[in-house]
């Protein structure tokens, strides 16, 4: 199964409540995915700086010295803001490659997301517990995507949880299962795009990354996913300034959208949307199969 929620705000006055609204939506989708949960949130854009979200199972040991170690390693300031097992590293944008190189050499620290505004938090556990650990309800931002996971294709682990980071400020969540992920994983490896887990969605994320490296826009990459991915999927993708939705041509994985003057919202079920402001008068519809939708600021 799995549950997806997404919220794209048009009305800036709602931005302080983004995390709160997404948390409520996410928890409503618990029975579609009780084993793990995650959230991608797009916050403030501070010019010249970028953010890397990292995760560690040994956060208590590793995080207290991480900023200092990295600062020395790259010769430029790195600041760290910790939330439970995750931490957001803020650095000058031109130092991202150096920090990523330094992180690769470290044991026990895993990169969850990179970008100017994107932060990804995900862990194993009930959505309400995961949301509480990261204090998602206190987060503000312009848009965000959440996922509740009921694993079908691979183990229940932090790295198997969604969202997946597909590129700078880009993320993907998935409801469904892909049947050609093993052959596609091998094909992508031949192209130099590697995945870390046996998870099918990670392959879809890697596929989009590869298409965009080849020059596709995200929209074009999603269009070609309709040809190259075999299986069931409803994807919601996040970008720096918006979000997109695509369903496979059979479209048996549910999806409901709602739009008002204040926001565009996505839910696997209408239940996830019922507490949004003005939902009674929103335009509510199901996205068409094999059709790419996008909303941008």
């Amino acid at each position: 199964m799995c549950g997806i929620v997404g919220l794209f705000l048009k009305d800036k006055s709602l931005e302080p409540q983004l995390g709160d609204m997404l948390t409520d939506m996410l928890i409503t989708m618990t029975d579609r995915g009780p084993d793990s949960a995650g959230i991608a949130i797009y916050g403030d854009d501070e010019s010249g700086t970028s953010k890397l979200t990292v995760q560690s199972d040994e956060a208590d040991t590793l995080f207290p010295h991480l900023a200092e170690t990295l600062t020395i390693e790259i010769g430029a300031p790195v600041s760290l803001s910790r939330k439970d097992t995750h931490a957001v590293l803020t650095i000058a944008s031109d130092k991202v490659a150096d920090v990523r190189k330094a992180l690769k050499k470290m044991d026990g620290v895993r990169l969850m997301s990179r970008g100017d505004t994107l932060e990804i938090y995900k862990e194993v556990g009930l959505p309400k517990d995961v949301a509480a650990r990261f204090e998602v309800s206190k987060m503000s931002g312009s848009h965000g995507i959440g996922h509740t996971r009921m694993a079908t294709e691979s183990a229940v682990t932090t790295m198997g949880a969604h969202p997946f980071n597909t590129g700078d400020d880009q993320c993907l969540v998935h409801n469904g299962s892909l049947s050609n992920h093993n052959s596609l994983r091998r094909k992508l490896a031949r192209e130099g795009v590697y995945t870390e887990t046996q998870n099918d969605t990670e392959v879809a994320a890697a596929y989009l990354t590869w298409r965009m490296q080849e020059g596709d826009t995200l929209g074009e990459a999603l269009e070609s996913s309709l040809d190259d991915l075999d299986g069931f999927f409803t994807f919601v993708v996040g970008t720096k300034d918006g979000f997109g939705v695509v369903r496979d041509p059979i479209a048996c994985k549910p999806a409901v959208m709602a739009e008002t003057d204040q926001y565009v919202a996505f839910g696997s079920e209408y239940r996830a949307l019922v507490n949004l402001p003005g939902i009674e008068d929103a335009r509510v519809w199901e996205p068409e199969p094999a059709t790419v939708y996008f909303w941008n600021h």
Partner: protein, 227 residues
């Protein structure tokens, strides 16, 4: 009129209360408030009662219905009126996928649009959709009538048996072994009656009938290469 607050009292209490109604009940009118997209609302009813749901519903509303009339003042999630035996289900908004699936009888009216697989494997139910329907509708439909006042998506009536499919607008594509059929006077009569029951002012003469070409009924050795 019995009013039931679903959020306050819960789904199990609602369905137990509705199941407790006998054929001669005098509690014939029910209103359900705070539906909020909940699943399995008013499932398995078997009494001549009228239930009105205020708001949109989640999965499987009014499934397995017998005798009852269920009105949904909102949109319906997947599998609405699935396996209906008799009675009537009316949706003021849209219906999600597989509305009226496997229904044996009764009337399902969708005043908005229906998504994919509307009437899949229908076995005698009548379905009237005021708007459009999605792909793979009436797949393996066995009997009953599917009336679409708008357009139909891809692969309408794939592998269907003896259900009658009436579409007023465009059909994006027909499924395997589904073909256009002649509209005879008896079909106009059936349509006229169904449209009237469904509160549609569409003219029966504007519809085209589709049904099984009956080529898949028997094994044909010439097709063996296709398997």
């Amino acid at each position: 009129m019995q009013t039931f607050d679903l959020e306050e009292n819960g789904l199990r209490a609602l369905n137990e209360a509705l199941h407790a109604q006998a054929d001669d009940t005098n509690q014939t009118a029910w209103e359900i408030v705070n539906a909020k997209g909940s699943h399995a609302i008013a499932v398995g009813l078997d009494a001549p009662i009228e239930v009105t749901v205020k708001g949109s519903t989640g999965y499987y509303c009014a499934g397995m219905n017998k005798q009852a009339t269920v009105n949904i003042h909102g949109s319906a999630g997947p599998g609405v009126a699935e396996n209906m035996m008799s009675g009537k289900v009316v949706i003021e908004g849209d219906a999600s996928q597989y509305a009226g699936a496997t229904g044996h009888g009764g009337l399902l009216v969708i005043k908005g649009n229906a998504a994919s697989r509307c009437g899949i494997s229908m076995k005698g139910i009548n379905i009237v959709v005021h708007g459009n329907i999605g792909h793979m509708s009436a797949f393996m439909a066995q009997s009953g009538n599917l009336v679409v006042c708008g357009d139909a998506g891809d692969a309408l009536g794939d592998s269907c048996y003896e259900a009658r499919l009436f579409v007023r607008g465009e059909v994006k594509s027909l499924g395997a072994d589904c073909e256009k059929k002649e509209m005879r006077p008896e079909h106009i009569e059936i349509l006229k009656d169904l449209l009237e029951q469904a509160g549609s002012d569409a003219k029966p003469e504007e519809f085209t009938r589709y049904g099984s070409a009956r080529n898949l009924y028997n094994f044909d050795v010439d097709n063996s290469g296709a398997y």
